[in-house]
């Protein structure tokens, strides 16, 4: 099953290699990985999406927790997760399709970042599923390039209430 792992760690060189190494060694393919600064100076938060066996992943979580620069690891609760992902999609639009595309953009709450002639760059934000379906809907036009940030996620409510603090 798919897990969204959130990791709070020190923001220092090498921490990304240490973290991703623990996944790859056990054959996990990381579906997405985002990292950025947090409310605390010098600390970063990773959001990693992986698919895999629950038991093996639990072992990875414990091993992550053992890394000296990892402060806390959460396997985010799917019931309580708040997630967002960002995508940029470059589409080629012919004259006759413009009206339809504009309508779709409104429905998707997407934004036009740039348009030069028939090439438009759209910006989409939402949870991973809505980004999936937005891209799916846009694929009726010619998608020249697209990029997704991977998801960032937090749990709702008071912080540090993840289900990972069992031991």
């Amino acid at each position: 099953m798919t897990h969204t792992i959130s990791i709070l760690c020190d923001d220092i060189p090498g921490v990304m290699t240490r973290i991703s190494g623990l996944f790859s060694r056990r054959g996990f393919n990381i579906e997405s990985l985002t990292v950025g600064h947090t409310e605390r100076p010098g600390k970063s938060r990773f959001t990693i999406v992986v698919e895999g066996d629950d038991g093996v992943l639990e072992q990875v979580r414990k091993q992550l927790q053992k890394l000296v620069h990892v402060i806390k690891v959460w396997d985010l609760d799917h019931e309580r997760i708040l997630e967002r992902e960002h995508a940029l999609v470059k589409v080629e639009v012919h004259e006759q399709d413009r009206a339809n595309l504009l309508q779709l953009i409104t429905v998707l709450q997407a934004r036009i970042l740039n348009s030069s002639g028939s090439i438009w760059v759209l910006e989409i934000t939402g949870d991973s599923k809505s980004v999936d379906s937005a891209i799916n809907l846009l694929s009726q036009y010619t998608i020249l390039e697209s990029i997704r940030t991977g998801k960032i996620a937090l749990e709702q409510g008071a912080k540090e209430r993840g289900p990972s603090n069992r031991l």
Binding site: D10, G14, T17, K62, K66, V68
Partner: protein, 574 residues
């Protein structure tokens, strides 16, 4: 140099001294010479190995024998990669080690410079943590932190890579404070509720057994284990790493369990209703196939590393913490409880008695077997050699290499509780024995250190005999020389087509002569009586003695699990 200034190399040596380092095991090279320069003005004694792998195992052996963090030093590139097997060996057996490597200068890093290798990248999965130091003023705080990490929580090796220009750089010498490590807080105090629950379960158990692992030794809790056993009268089995966790002469010690465990020990684990696992990670050589492991048993698992709980076997009751904190509290709960019956009255007394009886009958069988052969006519076998050595070296600190002799040593050479048995359990590193024995002998000069090795393992780091002779240690090396790789042959016999091209050596090496050339005392024995003389002489001799034990066609080492669970044992030709 100006007043109040220091260099990275000087800061390193000063910090090592401050941390109480007495010995460094190392080998020089272009990228660590500034450190050697600084070491000349230090009180730290440098032991010059003949190969960096030897230096790493020496530091490891020193650590295992003393409980202190062992320090080794190598240059960049090949010097650093030669340490890798030693680092991995220490990592698998949770041995505290600080490995310092020279690195090419900062401006050269990443340019494929001469003798450049990314040693922090290479050692990431086999260290507790590692560092590449970027500036001279960081040297002292990082070395302090490295010692703290290596020697706390679950012990392990830490690598510190120091570029050559960081070693020579001058910096204003002021004390830098160690960082706070928010992400590293090993749990040492056991949860009181869990300990209470464990006491309750233990009181009720009908067929309890203790599994003592290597954690007992790294936490120095052998007396706590003995105290606990005295209170409850429960039988004890041990893992390979836990051999010296509990006095081997104690009647309640059923010995090694697992893949090469005795029938009594494996029965105890397999039929138990409650296992108290102390400092063990339930490695595959202990459990055998997991699906059939101890199916009736609830497991109380005490370990300092939460990642070990439930990793291989489910824990009914996990207690994360230092054994030194948890076990005495558990003992006192059990001895204070009013309704505790004396060890002989409790229903579990019958269970214990059955196991002891089973062990007794097996022992008698073995004794008969050895005596049958008579003295001088007896062809020398490893168990015979071990029995003679055990008699000549009571209270020995026993070190082994890896292979068939290792298992024989675990089974046939009893040791007292304490840091008295050193072996490469997790990684199974052939060539570990000799350098580890050197480190151990330097750590415990008062003890009689005996290395049991095989001709295969011994040859893998034999160059360290020179180091051994130079250091002035007392050490007895017994080479079980059967001109073959015994364990490999046993596997080929059991599971392959018994073709031994790669497990038999044609050359008959005279290890006594070789030892003499390397500055040691050489002796040889081809019969039991020759061996008895040799071990007695070795026990009285100063310096390093190598006894070339001419073992004939050796028997396989049994028992060995050949089936789907720990009770499907092959017990040999007896």
């Amino acid at each position: 140099m100006k007043k109040g200034k220091s260099t990275g190399a000087k800061a390193l040596v000063r910090t090592l001294e401050k941390a109480g380092t007495e010995l460094i095991f190392g080998y020089p090279g272009g990228a660590n010479l500034p450190i050697y320069e600084a070491l000349q003005r230090s009180t730290i004694r440098h032991i010059q190995a003949r190969h960096e792998q030897g230096a790493a195992h020496m530091a490891d052996g020193f650590a295992r024998a003393s409980g202190k963090t062992g320090v080794c030093l190598a240059t960049s590139g090949p010097g650093a990669t030669n340490l890798v097997t030693g680092i991995a060996t220490a990592y698998m057996d949770s041995s505290p080690m600080l490995a310092i490597t020279g690195q090419v200068s900062r401006t050269m890093i990443g340019n494929d410079a001469f003798q450049e290798v990314d040693i922090t990248g290479i050692t990431m999965p086999i260290t507790k943590h590692n560092y590449l130091i970027q500036s001279a003023h960081q040297v002292a705080p990082i070395i302090e932190e490295a010692f703290y990490l290596a020697g706390s929580g679950r012990r392990g090796p830490v690598v510190v890579d120091i570029p050559k220009d960081v070693q020579t750089d001058e910096f204003a010498n002021q004390h830098e404070k160690r960082r706070v490590l928010e992400g590293y807080n090993p749990t040492t105090k056991g949860h009181p509720g869990q300990i209470k629950r464990a006491a309750a379960v233990l009181r009720e158990a009908q067929r309890p057994v203790i599994i003592a692992g290597g954690g007992v030794i790294s936490s120095n809790t052998y007396t706590d284990v003995a105290e606990f056993v005295k209170t409850l009268g429960i039988p004890v089995v041990h893992t390979l790493m836990g051999k010296s966790a509990f006095d081997n002469y104690n009647p309640l010690n059923l010995g090694l369990f697992g893949y090469h465990g005795s029938r009594a020990a494996n029965t105890a684990v397999s039929k138990s209703d409650l296992i108290l696992a102390i400092g063990t990670r339930f490695g595959d050589r202990s459990t055998g196939p997991l699906a059939s492991f101890a199916r009736d048993a609830k497991i109380i698992h005490i370990d300092v590393d939460p990642a070990e709980i439930g990793k291989n076997v489910p824990a009914y009751l996990p207690i994360v913490g230092d054994i030194a904190d948890v076990l005495p509290r558990l003992t006192s709960l059990l001895s204070n409880s009013s309704n505790i019956q004396s060890p002989t009255e409790h229903p579990r007394a019958a269970w214990t008695a059955t196991l002891l009886k089973q062990r007794e009958s097996i022992n008698n069988g073995n004794n008969g077997k050895i005596n049958d052969k008579g003295l001088d006519q007896a062809r020398l076998t490893t168990p015979v050699a071990l029995a003679a050595a055990a008699e000549a070296f009571p209270n020995a600190l026993l070190v082994t290499d890896v292979g068939r002799h290792q298992i024989f040593a675990a089974q046939h050479f009893p040791v007292a509780a304490g840091r008295n048995f050193i072996t490469s359990g997790g990684l199974g590193t052939m060539g570990f024995g000799l350098p580890a024995a050197i480190g151990a002998a330097l750590a415990q000069p008062e003890k009689k250190v005996v290395l049991i090795t095989g001709d295969g393992s011994f040859l893998m780091n034999i160059q360290e005999l020179i180091t051994a002779a130079e250091t002035g240690i007392n050490l007895t090396v017994m080479v079980m020389n059967d001109r073959r790789l015994g364990m490999i042959q046993q596997l080929q016999d059991g599971f392959y087509s018994s073709r031994f091209d790669v497990s038999r050596f044609t050359q008959d090496i005279q290890f006594d002569r070789l030892a003499a050339d390397f500055g040691c005392r050489g002796d040889r024995a081809a019969s039991e009586s020759e061996l008895q003389h040799a071990v007695v002489a070795a026990a009285q001799a100063e310096g390093v003695t190598v006894i070339d034990c001419k073992i004939g066609e050796e028997e396989h080492v049994y028992p060995m699990v050949t089936g789907r669970n720990l009770l499907e044992l092959t017990e040999g030709e007896a």
